[in-house]
Symmetry: C2
Subunit: 598 residues, 2 copies
């Protein structure tokens, strides 16, 4: 109904005007030459691909879905051709090392690409991005031979990869997994077990698929400390790089899901499949966790793109749909009714979507900048500090942005009224596709425990302090009268954050359940404070821009207005989360297990 | 995966222990003989039908969906037979007048039936309940001949009915509708136009379908004051009651929707179809609005049933699924992990669902009691007061409960983790089916304007005062120490409610957009206060029951625990809504129409 338009203007604002990506790239060894112009060219090219190639396949792909037949999986019409175009364009290896065929560009640029790709077609995008985790893992832990055999083919996009973690009884709790790896005489392993929820575990887009499989060696310790990684190709690879025999791994079925109908979610059966140890024995989880932040950053960006899609469609509809008259007087006398954008409550919904889409974009770009720094900064202290900051921000970004993305996507339906429930308008698909985002890559509850338990309390408050001191410093800066009220609000929120943390920490020393009881509300509170910080920064940058160069299209004034809306109408929710997070575990733990439902 | 179990124990608690339905029925002329035993028998019979007949058709109906072929519509396997069983059981005419074949039972009992029927299979239930509006309208405005011809056949369930309101350009704004009614020589009318979103507008469950159609007479005034009602049967009816020729109304297509796949949503084309005027000319909307409260009560109950389904499935899964150890120490040493119900955040989600399901049930039963009184109370003053109270409560009940139902349904997915995204577990279908509930029968935004604009400010505060005085009186009653803190909280909330209303009212005199700007947050605030009132009442009733008769199964203690949870962890959200509702229109109206999206 409405076609996707990449939000290039806002991406540029967030990355370059707000976060100074030009200076950022200039400071990074190896990519100093990236300037705004180069980035713009990359973004333009990606935008064209997303708008012209991917977006038109989105709704048809949802209706057609994937098909499983005798172990083979067929993706929707056009998916394969789009993937080939993507691989040929060099997008797969965009931020991979040049020595193995990548372009060596910073991950922050890749993040911007990922947003547009996913907004245009998130089911297809799952297939295009799923190699990233395997590429990182192979790069860090693969032998030179493994890199030459597998990594180079993944970077070109000739093959794709999967990460095979989950088993039916073992999801969040990977320590329970049972897939076995028995040593073969030739140094390889025979992998046996069944994995579920493997995205693009089988498909028709490439000749080969490289599975990175979590399994246990025969004498491995129980739990998470006995898990090793194995490379299991769909087709064995001959010494000359050509494909050999089919390996013992097959797709047993695909899931019927709420959304992402164009993305196959496979049950993968390993029946003595030949695998090759990747990285040290029994250290598989540690190897994988190295890349957790980068992987979760990609999921955080899904919150942004689902909000962006909802916002775009909603505002177009709200400007066209004529229904009722404005309560404050006729606004479109030439029509039989006013466009619904005149109604305050429609505006409330649009502004909420805008806060999430654009605020989430700033948040993601901010994290991506720290990711670049943690990997590439010249100074080791800087790398370390950015890594700490990123570790702290990642669970908040992943969980808060995907939760907010669900709200924005649901409001997208609400803005369309009954028409939003119909497939044709695209907004219900957007919610169905979005609904997985708070579940995979660690549920909201898992992120919240990671934040409060491991990152905040586990570091004795160090990581929290690293971020809050930056915000408090920002609050103390001189500023115009226009923003001083918001800065005071923000300062108070940060002080309350520190106090809330201390209170929970003290209770947690008596009872560890206090951490879990407070965690999700604590995380949501944290997210609202970070939004308050970023939106105030955005408003100030916008005000400066208006003064220095005017505001021909009203872009900057809209930033200032949206910040006001956020502070007045959404930020009060932080109070509710603070109260809930501070309420203690008693009201959760008191009720008997049998008492929930009669 | 988990089969539906009707929550008979809690229905009994809410209706009979909390709201005194036995005394209530004893006070109503004509139904004095209904006692708890009779009601229990009706509930048991309904529960068996819902659990054994309807629930097994629910997931298969979603997968199979409805099929449209050359104007004919085929419902999923089993739907037709279940409908016949339902009609034969006398459920269709349960609360209809005995003189036309109904059982004459109060609508509050019917509401309880509706909850179970919908929880078991909401797509099927749409078909079973859609005649209610038409029956009420025919009863009130039909001629004796129309009643004999149509009403009696609807009450037996031989035929079904629809309400044909919406056109593609005319949804909320019915004043825009264009369907025409031209007088025929014989006193009938030729109806021409196209209607959309007509649930069960065409189906294979009965021989005939009676459409109640909104259309305009040739000389009708513009807008809502020029709409009349017409009876348009699918097959014309001969004088002897037998079916005559096919009328000029056909189903042009059915919609592809997010959920309710078993319920056909039809485009109905009227091409000079023969129609019969129902009620006075040009007064069609007024006739329909008479029954708005009853219709919206049914939708409010959908919030309850979607929450109930989510709660049931979630708590069963949470007690079975083993994943991770409790942070406060191993709870199930015999297993390789603890059931996830030990984790505080899982409990937070379950308790939230329980608050909505059981709190919503009390809310719906409370409204249904007022509906009974407004229709049947012996005393006219009582009828009038109950009607006022119901008018005030209806928009809150419809919008607040369906919004909360979406949250509970979404948490249902969250409790299942990645498995919640898969069709098999049923929780994703529950959210898809639920998503329509905040849209139809008036969106949340429409309900909020009705509440704040028409009911609260429009009555000069009278309707609000009618309810709040009852709550304040309750707060002042003597009570045990145990609940005095909650009573004080509730009293303060009510005072803030009155103050908030006054503030908005004053601003609205300067600018009518202030009403729309405050409305949804105002409604949500109202909903939380009503929940606070009902949950405190429930806790007190439970405490008395424990004292008087003990608590063998822990049912009553769970009520008290859930009320505590609500007050401590959910009620703080009311603060956020109050702040947003009080923030004024400026932050919504400032941004330019072009400024929402770049």
């Amino acid at each position: 109904m409405y076609s996707y338009q990449a939000p290039l203007r806002d991406i540029q604002f967030s990355a370059f005007e707000l976060l100074g990506y030009a200076e950022h790239y200039a400071s990074l060894p190896g990519v100093e030459s990236i300037d705004a112009e180069f980035a713009e060219a990359v973004m333009d090219q990606t935008a064209r691909f997303a708008e012209d190639v991917l977006a038109p396949l989105n709704a048809p792909g949802d209706l057609q879905g994937v098909r499983w037949q005798d172990g083979q999986v067929f993706t929707p019409d056009g998916f394969k051709e789009a993937y080939q175009q993507y691989a040929e364009g060099g997008w797969v290896g965009f931020s991979c090392q040049p020595e193995y065929g990548g372009q060596g560009l910073p991950k922050s640029l890749n993040t911007m690409i990922g947003e547009m790709r996913g907004a245009a077609n998130v089911a297809w995008s799952m297939g295009a991005s799923l190699s990233a985790g395997a590429i990182d893992t192979l790069m860090a832990y693969g032998t030179e031979e493994q890199k030459q055999t597998y990594l180079t083919r993944l970077i070109t996009g000739d093959w794709t990869a999967t990460m095979c973690l989950t088993e039916s009884h073992s999801g969040t709790d990977l320590g329970l997994l049972r897939t076995r790896a028995e040593p073969n005489a030739d140094g390889s392993y025979a992998i046996t077990g069944s994995k579920i929820f493997i995205s693009y575990g089988e498909h028709d887009m490439t000749d080969n698929i490289v599975h990175i499989v979590l399994a246990r060696l025969p004498d491995a310790p129980k739990g998470t400390k006995g898990i090793s990684l194995f490379i299991v190709p769909k087709f064995n690879v001959n010494a000359d790089g050509s494909l050999g025999e089919r390996n013992g791994v097959t797709c047993g079925s695909i899931e019927k899901k709420m959304g992402l109908h164009g993305s196959p979610t496979c049950v993968m059966n390993f029946e003595g499949a030949t695998g090759y140890l990747l990285g040290p024995e029994n250290r598989g989880l540690n190897c994988m966790f190295t890349f957790m932040n980068a992987m979760r950053l990609g999921t955080a960006a899904q919150g942004v793109l689902h909000s962006q899609v909802a916002l775009q469609k909603s505002q177009q509809y709200a400007r066209e749909r004529l229904q009722m008259r404005s309560l404050s007087g006729v606004k479109a006398p030439e029509s039989e009714a006013d466009p619904i954008i005149v109604h305050p409550d429609i505006r409330r919904m649009l502004l909420t979507q805008k806060v999430v889409a654009e605020g989430g974009r700033m948040f993601v770009h901010y994290m991506a900048q720290q990711l670049d720094l943690s990997e590439h900064a010249a100074d080791e202290a800087q790398r370390e500090q950015s890594n700490k900051l990123l570790s702290f921000l990642t669970p908040i970004g992943k969980a808060f942005l995907t939760e907010m993305g669900l709200e924005a996507a649901s409001l997208g339906i609400q803005c369309f009224g009954g028409h939003g429930y119909i497939h044709e308008t695209g907004v219900e698909q957007n919610l169905r596709d979005a609904r997985i985002s708070t579940l995979y890559e660690g549920t909201t509850g898992v992120q919240a425990l990671d934040l409060l338990g491991r990152k905040v309390l586990g570091s004795g408050g160090e990581l929290l302090g690293l971020f809050t001191s930056q915000v408090l410093e920002f609050c103390k800066a001189e500023r115009s009268e226009q923003f001083s009220g918001q800065a005071k609000q923000l300062e108070q929120l940060v002080k309350d954050w520190l106090q809330l943390t201390q209170g929970i920490g003290e209770k947690a020393m008596q009872d560890a359940d206090e951490v879990g009881a407070a965690s999700v509300d604590y995380l949501m509170y944290s997210g609202y404070v970070i939004f308050a910080y970023l939106w105030l920064r955005a408003a100030e940058v916008a005000a400066e821009a208006i003064e220095s160069k005017g505001d021909a299209d009203g872009f900057y004034q809209a930033k200032i207005d949206t910040a006001s809306f956020f502070y007045q109408r959404m930020l009060p929710r932080a109070m509710a989360h603070k109260a809930a997070a501070g309420a203690g575990a008693e009201s959760l733990m008191a009720i008997a297990e049998e008492g929930f439902c009669f």
